[in-house]
Amino acid sequence: MTAVQEHVTEPIVPLRRPGRWVAGAVLAVLAAMAVSFVLTTPALRPDLVAGYLFEKSIMRGLLLTVELTALAMLAGLVLGTALAIMRLSENPLLRGVAAAYVWLFRGTPILVQLLFWFFLGAVMPRVSLGVPFGPEFFSAPVNALITPFTAAILGLGLNEAAYMAEIVRAGIGSVDRGQREAAEALGMRPALVYRRVILPQAARVIVPPTANETISMLKLTSLVLVIGLPDLLTSAQLIYGRNFQQIPLLIVASIWYLVLTTLLTFIQSRLERRLGRSDVQVGGHA
């Protein structure tokens, strides 16, 4: 007993972490090399980067990229959630349709899908609504309905829905079975069970991969080049096609992609914090 009491006041020496210092030194050297490369390489042309950063066609491209990303992700999220719920329903027909959708849209290249919607007018000059082989109630030329912009939204959105369907399905699957039963036992109708109980809890699992999808959609939108839409990257390419300043313009585009990605990452962490509110342990808040 007395021996123990002698030790009680001895100071505690924290664990030393020499690895951190080594890693820090290596990183500092690498950072210095990068800075010196940027400052001493004239081909990077920081003056041109600054000059083109807010150029009019770059701004228009940026706006288009943001619009396409937002609309395609919105379509993907809404349709993907519907597909996920269909996939989990008791109706074998709905299950089959959802599975077939995911199979088709995940199984073909996005480029093909974009071009397909764009050239739909060529294979199907008119769309019509009515009884198959019977009378028509509505009919319009496809080329008037499907502009390059709508083709882009269709191509990106319908493709995204297939991926979102799997993400949402995994999210719903992560919610404890007892949650649905408790909700049902309270007399909640199926739609309310999803809206109030299942989806809010699934959201925690859905948000991180959805943020991933959104960030990758940001860059995927540059594929709309093939149907003649000037997104951010395409606009930069159009400019360097004329003045041959490839590197500075690619830097301009990259800066904007990084700005958007940073913004999305910020929104993601805010959302995750909000959804994690209920995790606070006893004593965390009272």
Binding site: A185, G187, P190, L192, S278, V280
Partner: protein
């Protein structure tokens, strides 16, 4: 209120025969010949049970005997294969017309469940909502009642289960016993005619069992009709009007708690009670 057909009351009379008081009333729950199979395994092999308003019925029996399954059939969380269940004058899960029973749509089944409260072994509180929000959820969003009235009623219920000062806590911040009491308040918020409890204390640490049983005894004392699956023989003896012993998908023996627990007749009841007492 269109009561169940005359023949449905049959089994109830034999079970509750000695009690003149309850016999005069219309049963609140009346199950006749209920059968249920999972795949090729028959889990319920013709269960008859009658519960009168204000009665507390305890369902005892070994693990796997079908107690939970029967309880889940009562509010149609499981579809039954044969027989029928009436609750408060309504045939559970089916609509009778022209000599046939038509299966109800999910939303109709949901509407039927409003009058039946259920408490689960694992609480199943909504983890993303506070205790108060859990209790308010169904009256607000199923019944669409005004916010302030629902909030007041929910606070009253939390006070009734002794948790008024925990209203703003999330389930993760509550002990098991507190969570189960919130779950009881949540079920009561719909003002159910019948409360079903599926082993409400089995997931609790021994020292937390008492606080939940106390709430249930209060509820029983206030006249709530309850069907309770439990291994708490003490609770059955103290609070139940009627004890039913289930084994292998059938009701083996039933009677007043004092008689059945002290003096079981059937060998399987004897064997079970010898183990749990």
């Amino acid at each position: 209120m269109n009561g169940p057909d005359g023949h449905v009351n049959g089994p109830g009379e034999s079970v509750n025969g000695p009690d003149e008081r309850v016999n005069a009333q219309v049963p609140l729950l009346s199950a006749t010949g209920v059968r249920k199979s999972f795949g090729r395994v028959e889990v319920l092999k013709g269960v008859d049970l009658t519960v009168y308003p204000g009665q507390v019925v305890c369902l005892l029996g070994p693990s796997g005997s079908g107690k939970s399954t029967f309880l889940r059939c009562v509010n149609h969380l499981e579809r039954i294969d044969a027989g029928e269940i009436w609750v408060d004058g309504h045939l559970v899960g089916y609509r009778r017309a022209g000599g046939k029973k038509y299966e109800m749509r999910p939303r109709e089944v949901a509407d039927q469940r409003r009058d039946i409260g259920m408490v689960f072994q694992r609480f199943n509180l909504f983890p993303h909502r506070t205790a108060l929000e859990n209790v308010m959820e169904a009256p607000r969003h199923v019944l669409g009642q005004p916010r302030d009235a629902v909030r007041q009623a929910a606070l009253d219920l939390l006070r009734r289960v002794g948790l008024a000062e925990r209203a703003d806590h999330y389930p993760a911040q509550l002990s098991g016993g507190q969570q189960q009491r919130v779950a009881i308040a949540r079920a009561l918020a719909m003002r159910p005619r019948l409360m079903l409890f599926d082993e409400p204390t089995s997931a609790l640490d021994p020292e937390l069992v008492g606080e939940v049983l106390d709430v249930m005894k209060d509820l029983a004392g206030a006249g709530m009709t309850m069907v309770v699956v439990t291994h708490e023989i003490g609770f059955a003896r103290e609070a139940a009007d009627h004890v039913v012993f289930m084994d292998d998908g059938t009701i083996v023996e039933a009677g007043r708690p004092t008689e059945l627990i002290a003096n079981p007749q059937h060998p399987r009841t004897k064997a079970f009670l010898a183990k749990v007492l």
